[in-house]
């Protein structure tokens, strides 16, 4: 748990943009992991299985609260959206703004690939979508983030 809890909290915070919601999602996910463990196929990679549960929980939280949409409308992130260990300099602020503007499925795919460093087939298993769709989501997320950040840093 010491190894996975921080990763789970990082992913949930970046998916949901709210530290309190993230903590709740992570705690609930651990209970689901506990309950689902008998169905875990021994020998299978753990990351995709774990992140599937966590991502599902984050999706439910987003649907329930529509939190990121509200944040984008008001144009700023709450202070507790930041990962505590990260200094909130201008770049990190812009990164979090850009990430928040992605469609949820692109943000999810981007984080799983480039932050959690899952392989594409593992992301497919974690998200329940096909491999080509995963690749497309990651690519579109990267393209959108480059554009958003270029604009922000040019005009900011």
């Amino acid at each position: 748990m010491d190894a996975y809890y921080p990763r789970a909290l990082r992913f949930a915070t970046q998916m949901l943009g709210d530290a309190h919601d993230a903590e709740e999602a992570v705690q609930d996910s651990w209970l689901r992991v506990h309950d689902a463990l008998p169905r875990f196929i021994e020998g299978a990679p753990f990351d995709p299985w774990f992140f599937r549960i966590l991502a599902n929980r984050c999706r439910s939280a987003q649907v329930k609260r529509g939190r990121f949409r509200a944040l984008i409308e008001v144009g700023e992130l709450p202070a507790d959206a930041a990962t505590p260990a990260v200094t909130m300099d201008e770049w990190s602020t812009e990164v979090r703004h850009a990430l928040a503007q992605l469609p949820s499925e692109q943000r999810e795919a981007f984080l799983l690939r480039h932050v959690e460093e899952l392989e594409y087939d593992e992301i497919a298993a974690a998200t329940g979508v096909g491999l080509s769709a995963v690749r497309m989501r990651v690519k579109r997320a990267c393209d959108a983030l480059r554009t958003l950040l270029d604009e922000a840093m040019t005009h900011g």
């Binding site: 809890y5 921080p6 209970l31 021994e42 932050v115 480059r146």
Partner: protein
């Protein structure tokens, strides 16, 4: 197509620098989860999972300690370690690989012990990693606890070794170098079903 090379340009790398640091976790958060799960019916695999991710549980370690005590009191008998048919001979001497933390393993003649749960077979594992600061054995026989079975060496540069007490059967294990790097035992059969994406080896221990 190399997606990683294509997509991880400077912008993505700079983003990763912001997004990848792990947050600090309040101990009370983990305590809440543990308290909540403690009140649920514990699935049998949960204990093993809990060990693997660092939650203390001492059942097998305790069993191993009991067996070790029995071993010290006095028994020496012939056991049997049967490597997989495809594995190199376990009688090969350790061979230092070129450069850095080279690896090699061998087994000494196994011993056997008894505990409350039946016979345990003692297997000597030897691992050559001259640059390592610490090495431990993690496996299903010690619930994958990183600190349960430390390897020791007589002096710097000498091979690391550990005597492990294992019930008969098929076992998966790995060597944990410097508390962070999992390596498969280079002289044993590589497990096809690497748990959790980490390298593992397999050994078969015959009942005495």
């Amino acid at each position: 197509m190399d997606d990683q090379r294509e997509q991880r340009d400077e912008t993505i790398e700079r983003m990763r620098a912001v997004l990848t640091p792990l947050p600090s976790v309040a101990p009370s958060s983990i305590a809440r989860v543990l308290a909540a799960t403690a009140h649920r019916r514990p699935p049998s695999a949960w204990a093993r999972f809990g060990e693997w991710i660092g939650t203390p549980s001492l059942s097998l370690a305790r069993a191993g300690a009991l067996a070790a005590a029995t071993l010290v009191i006095g028994f020496v008998a012939r056991g049997a370690l049967r490597p997989d048919a495809n594995a190199p001979s376990v009688t090969q001497p350790p061979a230092a690989a070129a450069g850095g933390a080279s690896t090699a393993a061998a087994t000494a003649p196994p011993l056997q012990a008894a505990n409350a749960h039946g016979a345990l077979v003692a297997v000597q594992l030897v691992f050559d990693a001259p640059d390592a600061r610490s090495v431990s054995v993690v496996g299903d026989f010690n619930d994958w606890q990183p600190t349960a079975t430390p390897m020791r060496r007589l002096e710097a540069g000498q091979p690391w070794s550990a005597l492990v007490l294992i019930p008969p059967g098929r076992h998966a294990y790995a060597l944990l170098v410097d508390g962070a790097r999992w390596v498969a035992d280079p002289r044993a059969t590589r497990a096809k079903d690497d748990d959790f994406g980490k390298p593992q080896s397999v050994l078969f221990v015959q009942a005495p």
